[in-house]
């Protein structure tokens, strides 16, 4: 199909006004006129919207009418419309790679203020494209098959929903969760706003369904250690931490817990935010999925500092009896899985309230974080749902401080989006449980969402007090007799315009959401990007909200930014749909800008092999030549630049193409 030599070059040049986006700064007809004088150009046109149907139709007709065999369009970024114009060129009967696009909008019109200079630049860029396109060769798009299995990282509500959606569509899913049970933060919540559904009641059916789904392979107490490969064909290494229990044998009877040598729970219970205690052998919460206990080697007597010592009399093993599900010799294992696409749903971590010392968290026992209150009001929590403070009393007055670690340039600048609503929910629940006087201290009430504003109205009706003002400090220093022994909140009621001191029994800090502390490691693991806040970056904030800059890797839930449960579930569904599009199609089309080796010139020096970021180059020992796997090559050009003998060539970026482009930019008419 290479008709470069056999035919004369007939180039059609089109310049787009893009409404006034380009035309306001670039004199389009003048550019078209200047380019029309160049060798090989048989046709130039300027048109208002090249990307419109009539614009594309123009290209198709001209190819037939003027026997064009090369097309150049000067318009916006190739990211947006290269595909459109390649399609138009193909529809006109040409190979789509006989087309080249010039970006005179983002690279020119939008960044310049002088029309004459911008026009000159547009001419230079177009001239370069004209010279380059003459050297273009016909190329073919290659297809790479996609592995049908999917990996979901993170077993919170986002991960569970995405995994369930994909599994229900008939695809195999690996669901990897770091903790001993799936469920994530939602499992810790008591109720959900604004409907006050019990969080466990709506989550646990999904959890157990995910746990028993034939298409879902649950990997709890596991972490992703390594990811290799490329879109459609990823090889992921999963580190399975030893829980010292045979998962397939354990029935969840919990006899071992009852018979542990520790008669009383003694160790910090992570699930209850440290408000309760657990034993070294434990199950995080009653509805944990899988219903399998775990042994914590840091606290178990049979281990000392994590090393197996066989010091304990092992009453748990005796209690387990016939089943013999306890195995103290378990080791960490690395398991490899092959998947076509990956969904990252690693979630968030709550802001550490101790970072704002003036609110006294960690200093005054009766200052709580919101997540602690969720456990405190929960029937399966450490106090069986009774709101009893650390000093053993029930609070008569409670202050809820909003925006702790949100909207604050000293900690986190962003609004965490959910705190206003969950503070309202907690105010309602605390009032219901204790009948206490409740004050909310807010900067702005942010309740956009279906039924959210109505919920706010309901709380106002219930007699919960709302004071607009960010709290200055929480102190136990009493200025008057009624403040003795209480926590005093000093705040300006900004609407009334005076400063108030209000004594409380209990203070609740509505902590914001922030990226997980190891988000940067996860980002590197999966070749993603992070925004300035540290949340994973989506490909486009509006039009590609679940895609990342790595093909085949999608994000869902709070790892992308703070959001509530409805949004998380919606996003998880969107990510699952994107994955199904990829997996169900079965193949991906690959841009043919890959590199290849000129065998007769390769001297087998191997300098390219370690440089390739996609491990696409291997060495053929028998022929002593390097070999590039086209499916793995992303067209980055590193090997091309590094090859000492110049024997690596890259499609669409061949030397004569690049040199003619440079000549074009530098040439003067």
């Amino acid at each position: 199909m290479d008709n470069r030599d056999s035919q004369e070059i007939r180039i059609g040049f089109y310049i787009c006004h893009c409404g006034s986006n380009i035309a306001a700064m670039v004199d389009c007809p003048a550019v078209a006129k200047a380019i029309g004088k160049l060798a090989g150009v048989v046709l130039t046109r300027d048109y208002k919207y090249m990307c419109s149907d009539p614009g594309q139709e123009l290209i198709r007709k001209d190819i037939a009418e003027f026997k064009l065999n090369r097309v150049v369009v000067a318009s916006c970024s190739p990211l947006l419309h290269e595909k459109t114009f390649r399609g138009a060129v193909e529809a006109g009967g040409l190979n789509p790679f006989y087309f080249h696009m010039v970006n005179i909008r983002e690279h020119d019109a939008w960044v310049h203020t002088d029309k004459a200079e911008a026009t000159e630049k547009a001419c230079a860029l177009s001239r370069a494209a004209i010279r380059r396109v003459a050297k273009h060769k016909a190329l073919e798009v290659k297809r790479v098959s996609v592995h049908p299995d999917v990996l979901v990282v993170g077993g919170g509500i986002a991960g569970i929903h995405a995994a369930m959606t994909i599994a229900n569509a008939g695809r195999k899913v690996y669901l990897v969760e770091r903790e001993p049970s799936i469920g994530g933060h939602m499992a810790k919540f008591d109720k959900t706003f604004p409907t006050l559904d019990c969080a466990a009641c709506i989550l646990t059916p999904k959890m157990s369904e995910a746990g028993s789904h034939p298409n879902i392979t649950l990997m709890t107490y596991s972490e992703v250690a390594k990811m290799d490969g490329y879109v459609g064909n990823y090889t992921v290494t999963i580190k399975r931490k030893p829980r010292y229990i045979k998962e397939d044998v354990c029935t969840g009877c919990q006899e071992c817990i009852a018979n542990c040598v520790y008669k009383e729970p003694k160790f910090r219970d992570e699930f209850n935010e440290g408000l309760g205690k657990r034993k070294p052998v434990y199950i995080p919460f009653p509805q944990a999925t899988p219903q399998v206990v775990a042994i914590d080697s840091r606290t178990c007597l049979n281990f000392k500092g994590g090393v197996l010592t066989d010091m304990c009399k092992k009453s748990c093993v005796a209690a387990c009896g016939e089943k013999q599900a306890i195995d103290f010799t378990q080791q960490e294992i690395l398991q490899e899985v092959k998947v076509g696409a990956i969904i990252i749903a690693t979630g968030f971590q709550p802001f550490d309230a101790a970072r704002i010392p003036q609110y006294g968290y960690g200093r005054y026992p009766n200052v709580y974080t919101a997540l602690e209150i969720e456990r405190l009001v929960n029937a399966s929590g450490p106090t069986s749902g009774h709101v009893i403070m650390r000093d053993g009393t029930e609070p008569k007055s409670i202050g809820i401080i909003h925006c702790v670690g949100s909207r604050d340039q000293k900690t986190n600048r962003w609004c965490s989006k959910v705190c206003c609503m969950y503070s309202l929910k907690l105010a309602h629940l605390l009032k219901e449980h204790t009948g206490a006087e409740i004050y909310n201290f807010y900067i702005d009430m942010r309740t956009p969402g279906k039924g959210y504003e109505e919920f706010y109205d309901k709380l106002l009706e219930e007699g919960v007090h709302f004071i607009r003002g960010r709290v200055g400090e929480v102190t136990d220093w009493a200025a008057s007799p009624e403040e003795e022994g209480k926590l005093v909140v000093r705040v300006e009621d900004t609407l009334a315009g005076y400063v108030r001191r209000i004594p409380f029994d209990m203070v609740v800090l509505a902590t914001g959401l922030e990226p997980k502390s190891d988000a940067q490691d996860v980002r590197r693991l999966f070749n993603m990007s992070c925004g300035s806040e540290g949340f994973f970056l989506e490909r486009h904030p509006k039009l590609a909200p679940v895609s990342t800059f790595s093909d085949g890797i999608y994000i869902a839930g709070c790892c992308q930014g703070p959001r509530d449960i409805p949004d998380t579930v919606a996003q998880a569904g969107a990510a699952a749909a994107e994955v199904l599009v990829l997996v169900d199609k079965g193949y991906i089309e690959q841009e043919p800008n890959t590199a290849f080796i000129l065998d007769e010139e390769c001297c087998g020096c191997k300098s390219c092999i370690p440089l390739c970021p996609y491990t696409a180059i291997t060495f053929d020992a028998t022929r002593k030549k390097a070999v590039i796997n086209e499916a793995l090559c992303k067209g980055c050009g590193t090997c091309v630049a590094a090859c000492p003998s110049g024997s690596i060539v890259q499609n669409l970026f061949e030397d004569d193409e690049i040199f003619s482009e440079i000549e074009g930019v530098l040439a003067h008419d």
Partner: protein, 211 residues
Amino acid sequence: MKLKKRIIQYEAERVVGFADEIRNVPGCEELRSCIQCGTCSGVCPLSTYMDYSPRQIIGMVQSGFKDKALRSHTIWLCASCYSCAVECPRKIRITDIMYELKQRAIQERIYPRRFPIPILAQEFNKMAQTHGRVTENVLAAIMFLKSTWWTAFGMWRLGLGLMRRGRFPLHLESIKRKDELNRMLKTLDKVTIDMLHDERGKGEPARGGGR
């Protein structure tokens, strides 16, 4: 009963551009980013005595109610403990803004009458400039005489105690080469805010200047 105080503010009372004027002073650049959360008033140890809370003063400056802001007691009650500047979630240096307002109030002589603090500030400055030293009891005496002189009688016991301990010198303390001090102060006076701006402009772009 006759209503004395009106709450409404008319557009004619606004000084358009006052906020920008303040914002151009080094240290006051972040003025615009205030979200009126009230943290400054919440942490201010003196906010309980102020006629307007620090948050309200920032609001007045932002809207250009210059006269109201400069006439307030608040700016004079600010003890520059910097709690507000430390706690402000927008990193606004409220104390620096208070200082700027105090300076302007003195320049325009619209501070509250018979209020000791602005008088103290001016007399302190005057004494330090002419003598190079401040004699505290004389300064206090001048402050009382120019403001609420009758309250000084209530402090006779303190004065007596100080005198007994030799802490009540009746002569003005002074440094030796006052002409050199004068030369230094004169040079300083020539340095204007604009010069400081130019100096900053050479190094790094002024904060907030590009908005």
